[in-house]
Amino acid sequence: MIGNTPFVVCMVLVALGLWALLFRRNLIKIVIGLKLIENGVNLFLVATGYVRQGVVPIYTYAPKDATMVLPTPQALTLTSIVIGLATTALILAFVVVIHRHQGTLDAGKVTELKG
């Protein structure tokens, strides 16, 4: 049971992020929601690669006969974090431009486009 805690935490993070995405009006909070989902997914990726009693998967540093945790999910997570950085930077840039034009971050008041 206790071994499943990381997965439960991931899903709680994803659910929190989705909730923020759907029900928050502030644009920055929507972005924070996206980041929460992303962190939940990243944590999930790392957790899937965990091997009980495993050591860091650096071949030259690992002691003899030690079990290593899976390296692939860590590589995937690293890639996904970098991609997340790019998307967050871009989306926050859009938020800045929207604020400059409309003077508000309330999604209900940013209504140039409708229908």
């Binding site: 790019a86 871009l90 034009h101 140039e112």
Partner: protein
């Protein structure tokens, strides 16, 4: 080095690197930049066409990255650990669509974008988007697919929000970016689930392993949901009209191709990855979403007052036809009646027809905007006096989109109508109703914008933009006059790849 062997990776790597080098050349001189773009674009198109030719004549092409030879897909132990590019007829078909659209977009952008609007960066993002789309179409690895998915998301949203001096562009880009990012994360979560369960990322390997457990079903739900966000099918379509309406015209047609590539990925997931545990309920879900998209988007088009958004809803409704056609095929894939293949052919053929017809319309809208200085239907009128060619192109695109014979939309829609009728006559009735609605909407818009007395003189449309529209118009007419030729040589192999090509795909990647 044998170019043909390395064509799959060159078709992705060259535009990726070429795009980032573009601003450097732009710093030196803009002629150097244009020359570089010509070289990169020409080479990429040549590689993609060469690759497609090999796929259509010699069968599935597989390319392993980081192996001693490109054919070594599985490492010792019979387990694919490397990233694999696997191109079957459907992937090659999508690559050809992106080539057509990207070449037209680059020709069009030559005079559509002004230098002071940041033309260099728009061209860079466009080339990046093309590279990402080719990557999505050619890859055979789930995580690699996610990376290219995000490449297209970032490039596409950069293009949508690129007019930062207006308020509407960034707003549309924000909405789109939220949808794309959430969709991408769903795909990543599904990838992680499948990796955790089967310990692999290779599409063919996973397809061979999947047993249809409840965890697999969760992953399928996440994949379908995430991809539908990018496709813009109706419950998740709210970003699409904003994005199509606000992005510069040359990038809108790239966005349309991007949704089609996401649609291709959805079909790949449903038919190849989950083909072994196919469930008619999923097919019905796709059919229902398709029918809903077709009719809701057509109804929404009726009430639009902006020419760009009107055409955008037309584009969303065309996505519904593709979902409908291929969904009918998926529903009956267990029994394999002949009309299932016809339905898939119709759906796939409609992708090509849609790329030509809706692309033509979007480019015509861009020309109207540039010539008349606005897109509001209330303020436009009588443009037919000054813009003779654009008028013709818009009419041609409208008729093709509504499925009037002998234009191309008719050929594919007829295939979808016929086969959907065999599944349920209501589907066909809805699809025809939506077509008629679209015809009415587009003819009303045509009459309002181009006919009537001249309101004010319009500036003439520059020749490169007319040439770009001409290429697509030629495509519309050719596809409509000789549908059998295209169906036999391009569409049927692509449809067969979905219908019964799963085993061949798995064998090509995994060996044996």
């Amino acid at each position: 080095m044998n170019l043909a062997t390395h064509a799959p990776i060159l078709a992705i790597a060259v535009p990726l690197l070429g795009a980032f080098a573009l601003p450097l050349w732009g710093k030196l001189h803009r002629y150097l930049r244009d020359l570089w773009l010509l070289l990169v674009g020409g080479f990429t198109a040549a590689m993609a066409v060469l690759l497609s030719a090999r796929v259509f004549t010699a069968g599935i092409q597989v390319y392993t990255l980081g192996a001693a030879s490109p054919g070594e897909t599985v490492a010792s132990g019979g387990f694919p650990i490397r990233i694999v590019l696997a191109v079957d007829a459907l992937g090659a078909f999508m690559a050809l669509i992106t080539v057509l659209v990207a070449v037209v977009a680059l020709v069009y952008a030559r005079r559509y974008l002004a230098e002071e609007e940041g033309k260099t960066l728009a061209l860079t993002l466009g080339t990046l988007l093309w590279a990402g789309m080719l990557g999505m179409a050619l890859t055979g690895d789930l995580f690699n697919f996610f990376v290219f998915f995000e490449v297209t998301s970032i490039a596409a949203c950069g293009l949508i929000g690129y007019r930062t001096w207006a308020a509407r562009g960034p707003e549309a880009a924000f909405k789109t970016m939220v949808m794309y990012t959430a969709g991408g994360l769903f795909v990543l979560l599904a990838t992680a689930i499948l990796y955790g369960e089967y310990g692999g990322l290779n599409l063919a390997y996973l397809a061979a392993q999947i047993r249809g457990t409840s965890v697999d079903r969760i992953a399928l739900g996440l994949l379908v949901g995430g991809l539908l966000m990018k496709v813009g099918a109706v419950p998740l379509h709210m970003w699409a009209p904003d994005a199509y309406g606000e992005a510069p015209a040359q990038s809108v047609i790239l966005l349309v191709a991007n949704t089609q590539v996401a649609l291709y990925a959805l079909f790949r997931v449903l038919f190849t990855l989950y083909g072994g545990v196919a469930d008619p309920a999923v097919g019905w879900l796709v059919v229902a979403l398709g029918a809903l998209t077709v009719i809701v988007a057509a109804l929404m088009a009726v009430v639009q007052t902006d020419l760009g958004r009107l055409v955008a809803f037309g584009a969303v409704s065309q996505i519904g036809y593709m979902l409908l056609g291929v969904g009918v095929g998926l529903t009956v894939i267990g029994a394999r009646p002949a009309f299932g293949l016809v339905a898939i052919q119709g759906g796939i053929f409609h992708m090509l027809n849609d790329a030509a017809a809706i692309g033509l319309l979007f480019l015509a809208v861009g020309a109207v905007e540039k010539a008349a200085g606005g897109r509001d239907l209330a303020g436009l009128g009588g443009l037919g006096h000054d813009l003779k060619w654009t008028t013709g192109f818009f009419l041609l695109g409208s008729l093709a989109l509504a499925g009037i014979p002998p234009l191309n939309g008719f050929a594919s829609k007829l295939m979808i109508y016929e086969s959907a009728f065999r599944l349920s006559p209501i589907l066909t009735a809805l699809a025809i109703l939506a077509s008629i609605l679209l015809l009415a909407v587009f003819l009303r818009a045509f009459q309002g914008v181009f006919l009537g007395p001249r309101l004010k003189p319009a500036t003439p449309v520059p020749p490169p933009m007319l040439v770009a529209m001409g290429i697509l118009a030629l495509g519309v007419v050719a596809l409509g006059l000789f549908p059998e030729f295209f169906v036999r040589h391009l569409v049927t192999p692509a449809a067969e790849a979905l219908w019964q090509g799963r085993d061949a795909y798995l064998r090509a990647v995994l060996g044996g």
